[in-house]
Symmetry: C2
DNA sequence: TACATTGATAATAACGTTTTCATAGCGAGC
DNA sequence: GCTCGCTATGAAAACGTTATTATCAATGTA
């Protein structure tokens, strides 16, 4: 009476059985048009909202989806989350978010816990092992962003193309010896990018100078500064923008000015890449789009009546030429 | 048999009734120690997990909490979310996150929708009206961050103190005519800070020059540049760090260098404030701590058997002297 | 000895849906 | 005209918990 309005109240108001009310919402085509109208208007009049818990109890579905990110304070992820979220909202899914703090073991455990609360998951840049990932995949629909594991649907970025564009850019600017500051070897995309760098530098007949692996943070970039200075190169490619910004910052401490003394290119195009001074030359990866696409896939998987889901998608990257890369100082023929 | 293990399976295994199993988890003190042990071990052996939906159905509680933020890509919020989340996790609450896209009307609607899925809410920098806020408060426990409404529990920052510190700092550096670049008038904390600026500048016998209101974004800060230049001041206080960074960036376009030609101070101490070059003088507000505290309050409200929740908390800010503020060029007595 | 009192457990009734399964009505085909 | 099949609906049985009430033994009290 006093409590929230139930399906029974609507049934009474529309003079039908509760079953018919339920059908009206779940399988509208199964109920006569005029009855349907009657039920709908009664429901609207009473402001009826189905009780999720009761639905869940019987269907076994929660109606929620989950997002897992390694570190929300890393500027890469909020955009991804936003992309997922806005698409999820369109589709009517509330979103459970979890931040694993970059801890692979914790990540796996949190996914297990979260798994019971959601009908599907989007895992961003998952740190856990392939095996763990595959075992979670057994449990419920899951799509990956920025990580590939055979047999698991994923949205990735065309990093090879992005790196290729940067290499071409540096070659066009006349650089020959090029340093690469890698991210952590444990990171999937770090390994992918490292591979692409080696491949494309070689293909362009340029010399790769490995500077080493560092944490994918501002401080990680900073700590690469000394080795960069010792590498005797005119240009450095850095695993990501945050590190590139850190590197540039520390380089300034050494009195080395970018781009005058050294060309630096980043990766990701985080918001602050454009805001830095000088603005960072980088490769844009469409993060929000990736999130939205992943959510669309997930939805397809979850509502899959039919057979296979679509193949993994690889999103195009875009090279962004800004202020931290310049033509190598003119020497020889041109300079004479 | 095949499906997930239910309370009934545990009851059978422990040779007690389902009711006793339930009690073992809900009110352990109500069941005999030896029985309890038997139930617990049976539950562990079978890897029993209570079905949330069934629990929800009868208790009317979801066990989830919700977070609402205006814009996740604003670097202020991820830290807050992280603070809430990590505390929530300790307390055993999964977290539903929603990003309102800075839209007050949407915000209110989303809170309504989200409200049905959670037992309590943390609203960060809520944009909606006091009335809407109060009406949502009727529905379920709710705590605010960075917004005050009489009668609603909140975690805020001691902005007056933060502003006072900045004013003192500028005075100590010898500045007299000081510009203030305000945030949007519709924002609660913008109004609060504006008020504090006026008060403390006056108290310090300094001259306030209002530069105008701008969007609280990098571009917002940029668009303030012309007016700042026309204000004929030696120092500018800016509503927040993102704007301050934008302002400095645009100033550079005008050939005005910070801090040599102009002192700029921000607010918030976002990550990039320290990373910028020169690093931004600002006021740190403990965002992660605020999130955690808000979550603790919320938990107290939700589990409140007793009477009133604790009073709203105001967190201390910390002045951070970095590179964008310098002593005003020496003139007069000292310079002769 | 009889009778409250307490403590531990069991039985059972919700909670609000969805989903068989059954049934009534009704037009079509033979 | 009788059955067949199809559509629209209702009745009732789940789903897995928690909360309420009842039962029963043990203990304390008069």
């Amino acid at each position: 009476m006093s409590g929230p309005v139930t399906i029974r109240d609507v049934a009474r108001a529309a003079d039908v059985s509760p079953a018919t009310v339920s059908r009206t919402f779940v399988r509208p085509e199964k109920v006569d048009a005029v009855t349907r109208e009657r039920v709908l208007s009664a429901a609207a009049r009473l402001d009826y909202r189905p009780n999720r818990a009761a639905q869940s109890l019987i269907t076994g579905l929660t109606g929620n989806i989950g997002i897992v990110v390694p570190d929300l304070t890393n500027p890469f992820f909020p955009s991804v989350v936003r992309g997922i979220q806005s698409r999820a909202e369109e589709l009517g899914y509330p979103v459970l978010l979890v931040d694993t703090g970059e801890d692979a073991a914790r990540e796996s455990e949190l996914v297990t816990r979260l798994g019971r609360q959601v009908d599907g998951l989007v895992l961003c840049a998952a740190r856990m092992s392939d095996e763990d990932l595959l075992s979670h995949r057994q449990q419920r629909p899951l799509v990956l962003i920025n990580r590939e594991v055979p047999g698991v649907p994923a949205v990735t970025f065309d990093n090879a193309a992005g790196i290729a564009q940067e290499v071409m850019h540096l070659k066009a600017l006349g650089h020959v010896r090029i340093g690469y500051v890698a991210g952590p070897g444990t990171s999937y995309s770090s390994r992918v990018r490292q591979g692409a760098v080696t491949t494309h530098l070689a293909a362009a007949a340029l010399t790769e100078v490995a500077v080493g692996s560092f944490a994918p943070s501002f401080d990680g970039g900073r700590s690469a500064a000394e080795k960069v200075l010792l590498a005797n190169v005119t240009a450095v490619m850095v695993y990501n923008d945050v590190m590139a910004l850190g590197l540039i910052n520390q380089l300034a401490q050494y009195g080395v000015s970018v781009p005058n003394d050294l060309t630096v290119v980043g990766y990701d195009d985080i918001e602050f890449a454009a805001m830095a001074n000088p603005a960072l030359t980088t490769v844009r990866v469409p993060r929000e789009e990736a999130g939205a696409l992943a959510m669309s896939y997930l939805n397809a998987l979850m509502t899959a009546t039919g057979p296979a889901p679509e193949p993994p998608a690889q999103l195009k990257t875009e090279f962004i030429f800004r202020g931290t890369s310049v033509r190598v100082p003119l020497t020889g023929a041109l300079a004479e």
